[in-house]
Symmetry: none
Subunit: 219 residues, 4 copies
């Protein structure tokens, strides 16, 4: 594992565990097995690290969302595919996703607008699918923005509790959430096969290899 990757993974883990502001540059360096001065050979600044991380994470989510959306013309399938892609992304990159969901407010520089823009683009995909489904009568949606918020928040939550070594496989997780989402908007249940080929979700190079885990002693 290269130095840069070690830094990124250490940063993601710590930002996820303690939050950006509560994490020191020395903590990251120590967790990456580097001297804190050496860390600056790989990274411009602490905020650069966060910016890069959020951008890559958000871009990946947006890409997955677009693929999911483009995979069908049926709003029900579009929604199911997007939810499946979203929860899989959160499940495969739980720590990065957690930071992505919680630390946007820590960005101060110009990078912030970029991230917010990406998130808005992503949310508009949900809007489009929900709006069309509502228009065609496939969905029963009393309030479109509320439904959209609820759907996305529900999916975001996955990063907070899902454990890869737990009871549920990613595919099962996707099935469960697909069902919940379809029911929530009053749509028909979309079977897993209808969503094939699934959107490919890959682990980000930022995501730490070992899951959360308490206190990885170094000595």
């Amino acid at each position: 594992m290269s130095g840069l990757e070690a830094v990124r993974r250490a940063a993601v883990r710590l930002f996820a565990e303690r939050g950006f502001a509560a994490t020191g540059i020395r903590d990251i360096a120590r967790a990456a097995g580097l001297n804190s001065a050496t860390l600056y050979h790989y990274v411009g600044s602490k905020e650069d690290l966060l910016t890069g991380m959020l951008r890559e994470s958000q871009e990946d989510l947006l890409r997955a969302g677009r693929e999911a959306f483009a995979g069908s013309a049926d709003p029900a399938v579009q929604l199911a595919r997007m939810v499946r892609a979203h929860v899989a992304t959160e499940a495969v990159n739980p720590l990065t996703s957690r930071v992505s969901d919680h630390e946007v407010h820590s960005l101060t520089g110009p990078g912030r607008a970029v991230i917010v823009g990406l998130r808005d683009d992503y949310e508009s995909l949900f809007h489009k699918a929900l709006a069309r489904g509502a228009r065609t009568g496939q969905f029963l949606i009393t309030d479109l923005p509320v439904a959209r918020y609820a759907l996305i928040e529900m999916c975001n939550g996955v990063a907070d509790w899902y454990r890869p070594d737990g009871r549920l496989s990613v595919a099962e997780l996707q099935d469960r959430f697909s069902e919940l989402a379809c029911r929530m908007v009053g749509g028909r249940l979309v079977r897993r096969a209808e969503c094939d080929p699934p959107v490919a979700i890959t682990r980000l190079s930022w995501e730490p290899l070992t899951p959360a885990g308490p206190e990885q002693a170094s000595a």
Copy 2:
């Protein structure tokens, strides 16, 4: 407004906007119109402030949840009442709720276990209603823990976007979320009247009076 209340409200606002770790004691003091040394006249420490805030918030949510649960024997009504209480709490105390949802990890002392315990108690109320509804066949729940997580996360999200001066009244918000929740678990739609008398949700003394608002300049 007393000094203590001013401190608490300032702290909630800043913790909600920037996060606990990124908020300085001087920032809080300035926002409360006090010298930072004076602040310590009212409060033991920065962490005490957070602990007290999370406890009061979590206790209030638990109380509301219990009242909601106790108001009916029908799982569908129980769920609807709990969701209504939860979103109303988030809508009436958006900033406090935001902090409550995001800053548990910032607690280090013994207070942490207390807060986590309260949250667990709260979640068990949802578990009970969902489990019974599933047993009686009123709900269609493939995976109970997943449904519980999804429901609660969806409700928590409210604090992140709801604006009291926006399009939706609290009552309308409750109607929307009640509908989404009922559909999500495959239950019948519960009308507002069935939830009467509603659980009373009051503004916490910690909640700032003016809503979020960007950068209340003081000078």
Copy 3:
């Protein structure tokens, strides 16, 4: 016990236990059962407290030393009487004496010179007795200043270990030290009776009533 006395005793105890610089005005107030603002009705400042304490203590020691010196024309008896007076003073006012011995350097104002002057006057009494005894041949003193320092330091030490409720009464303590001092300077042993009438040693109003004792819990 008046408020002023309570403050003085609390201050002496804390200065003796933790040192002047490490003792806060609030600590003193709490130990005296007062609000820290109320304390300022009795005392001008923290340093005033120390100054007054050192002066009263040093004046008392000087008075005792003078009485001891004046009680006889025989250098041996003079020395014995002075040593007896000194150790009795330390034994009867152990905490005040301890502060007196250790905290002169904490004085910054003009009071410092006064205290140092008193101490010099006191030391000159020893010098006079030793010098005359050496001249008359009653004492065998190779180095007068060294002997004087050694004698006084030896006596000062009493405050650090003597316990009124211990094995030794004050009179026995005096006997022991008188013997040590006489031997040290090569003089004849002076019996207790030769030192009558003894110098009266009274407890200072500053000296706490209960001995040192660890952690006098207040609640």
Copy 4:
């Protein structure tokens, strides 16, 4: 001189002059020619500094005491050798010794017990020599603990007044104190030659190079 040594010497000087509690970390840094943040590169904390200093000083004194004691089987020579070693240690490391004598009470952590243990071990050496001398009849000791306290206090005092550039050489100082000590316990006078080879006393790396001196202005 290395940075660490500079910090140590500056700390010793200031602790000796003003006391531990009255010395600021910034004062130490300034006296060492460092920024106060840089100081933390060398030292863990202010208390660590004191702990290390007291331990090294006390260990050195104990080592010297043991060598002195082991150098002879005659209690009189043992006592003379120990007194000579003690006063030489105080004379060669006056500032470190002063802190060592006065600041044990400033220790709060677990290091305190260690220091107190070392001091107890040291005192027991005196006890052994005095006890045996009393048993053999070489010493006339009415009260053994009192004699031990008096001896040690008398020696400790040296750090408070001895000046290396003064009237007395270290060897002369040793001669004077040896004489005083022998007389004090009613023993025979032990000549310097009987104490050969003398215990080697070396300057601690903590001891400032220039003597006390008032206010070494840096600018």
